[in-house]
Symmetry: C2
DNA sequence: AGCATAATTTGAATCGATCCAAGATTTGCG
DNA sequence: CGCAAATCTTGGATCGATTCAAATTATGCT
């Protein structure tokens, strides 16, 4: 009397037809004579059949019609992180348009992550590369499914990627500030490599393992040099993209005799933390010091003051990512999208 | 020379072992002699085998280790709607803790929705009931998997649900306002049934099809009556939970000779729209009129003024939903959680 | 009725793995 | 060296459906 789940075969027997017919009644009802179809449905009803099990179907069918979105962060990252949310929103819109579903796959635990990636039933992956991106990308590559990495921080042209023009973005940020008349800068960097170092030199910067970080630093340096500012005089502080390291960086920078009037922050998160730090210190932004972020997250709209930043085309990135998976043709696409300067309230000419 | 995908069987042949052994090499490596295991891996490598296909495994295994989250809205609802986001965040946290994955399943198109639900490879469903909840619940029920409906608006005890004590919440809102001294109220309701009617009577209200709406209305009525306010004198306006209908409702209410000093809004969304409408009209909140919302979405924290509201325990709802699915024991749970009054800046004593 | 044609139904093969009882090898030890 | 115990390997059964060529039944027409 064990309640073994009902299979299509059971229904077929009950209805007195072959499995082939029973299957057709469900998945191609039009080719089964009405009377028989009714009989099959009645049998299903009587037995409490839940309908064809997708697992069986999937095995036969090939296409899953779902795309996996992976990251090495906790799953809640997708709903808590502003950047992720905006990109996910556009990914889901693109999926809606084509009827594809979404599987969220992630885990902080390495082993669990590997397992989750290996067992995700999807047609392809979109990979959010935060930290540990390379490990995640390797895992995904193993599946030999179409996949695309978003903002992948390494030079690797064996995979599809969608990124932004970091050099150009950084130049825009610097140009905006030099245009306003600033001459004393400081850079709040993201990580150059796996370990965070605090205050660093431009020589190290140029050798950064993470390509995104390196390119942004290069952009800043180039543009500042073009404005006749000696790059080596510009203090550089590497943060962990969080509050403690940002605060530590600012302590360090503003302890110096001639503090900067302009901060180039390499992420909005760092920039927003900087705004908080300045407010706590009674330093007025943008009167005393200007801040430019990088990313363009929605939070920057409602901060006090609203954040001037370099906006990534997040919606476009999501859209293209879905296109890349759904329209995969066997070749790797490497797209570099343009960023734009968004001027809001955190920048102004330097104090006189 | 067609590039047929490599199967485990191919690898077994190449390595000169049985498929049983090849399978073990991957899924229970410890029981295979090292030398043989290496041979199998080498063969896999050589053939470009992507690892055991999860579809095959799934069919055999039973458990999927993923839970489906369904709604009849577009997929992007999960990332755009504040209520959904908070609940999803806690759902994902609970999933992370147990290593379960998440599949987002949805579609506005009815047919597509049905198909997506039928073919989702999951162990159970959490259903977000917005509108058309009953259709969605029926579809889900068909799968005969564990599932739980969030804020399901109907009386139906054949399924598991997680909801809040709407009557108590509404009473709290009303009590807060009567305690402040208000005597002239108006209610901005959500839908009573499938069609929206605009201004309605309390007699109709008591017969609302949507149980959530009905209970909140009852709560308001009870508490107001307890304060000696004649319920029938209180204007009631049914909105669509959007801007146009909210604005229309307020036009209507404030065109009356003796406009209310307190608005009971049945959702934060409506309440927030009301705040906008008052601002546009130059009516000061809370000086001229007080507003109490219902839901407790994060937006209410940053509105101007911050919204006084009845907070639903969104995180708790998410957590319990996951528990209900993962620990399903064959019985339906019907949980009603408590709500709490959150006093912020949109309420004050009435003008003298 | 007789026959060609169209509409249905059948049943075996297949999708890609895992599991397990039984058989084959190794190892340990007197 | 021989035998029991321990360790590996094997191959068939199974998970739950879909598919398709072949067989069967129905329909149309003279």
């Amino acid at each position: 009397m064990a309640k073994r789940p009902i299979r299509l075969a059971d229904v077929a027997v009950e209805a007195g037809v072959s499995h082939g017919t029973a299957s057709n009644a469900f998945s191609r009802p039009e080719i089964v004579r009405e009377e028989v179809r009714e009989r099959v449905f009645a049998a299903a009803q009587k037995l409490g059949y839940a309908g064809p099990d997708p697992r069986g179907r999937l095995l036969r069918a090939g296409k899953v019609n779902a795309i996996g979105v992976a990251t090495a962060e906790p799953l809640s990252y997708f709903f808590d992180d502003p950047f992720a949310r905006v990109v996910m929103s556009s990914i889901t819109q693109a999926c809606d348009a084509t009827g594809a579903g979404i599987s969220l796959v992630s885990a902080v635990n390495q082993e669990q992550l590997a397992w989750n990636i290996q067992s995700a039933v999807v047609d392809g992956f979109i990979v959010f590369c935060i930290e540990g991106g390379s490990r995640l990308v390797d895992l995904t590559r193993e599946r030999r499914l179409p996949f695309v990495a978003l903002d992948y921080g390494f030079d690797d042209d064996s995979i599809s990627t969608i990124g932004v023009d970091d050099v150009a973005g950084a130049r825009m940020a610097a140009l905006h500030l030099t245009g306003l008349g600033h001459r004393r800068f400081a850079v709040l960097s993201l990580q150059l490599a796996d370990v965070t170092a605090g205050a660093i030199s431009w020589v190290e910067a140029d050798k950064a393992v993470y390509a995104g970080t390196r390119d942004r630093l290069r952009g800043y340096a180039e543009e500042l040099a073009a404005a006749g500012i000696a790059t080596n005089d510009i203090p550089l502080y590497e943060t962990d993209n969080d509050w403690p390291s940002t605060a530590a960086g600012l302590e360090h920078l503003f302890a110096a005799p001639n503090p900067p009037t302009a901060i180039l922050a390499m992420s909005d998160k760092v920039a927003l933390h900087a705004l908080d730090w300045f407010k706590a210190r009674g330093i007025a932004v943008p009167r005393d010091v200007s801040v430019v972020g990088f990313d363009g997250v929605p939070e920057g709209l409602v901060s006090d003051p609203p954040l001037t930043t370099i906006s990534q085309p997040m919606a476009e990135m999501g859209r293209r990512a879905v296109q890349t998976i759904l329209g995969f043709d066997g070749t790797n696409r490497r797209e570099t999208l343009d960023v734009a300067l968004t001027v809001r309230g955190s920048t102004a000419p330097p104090p006189v």
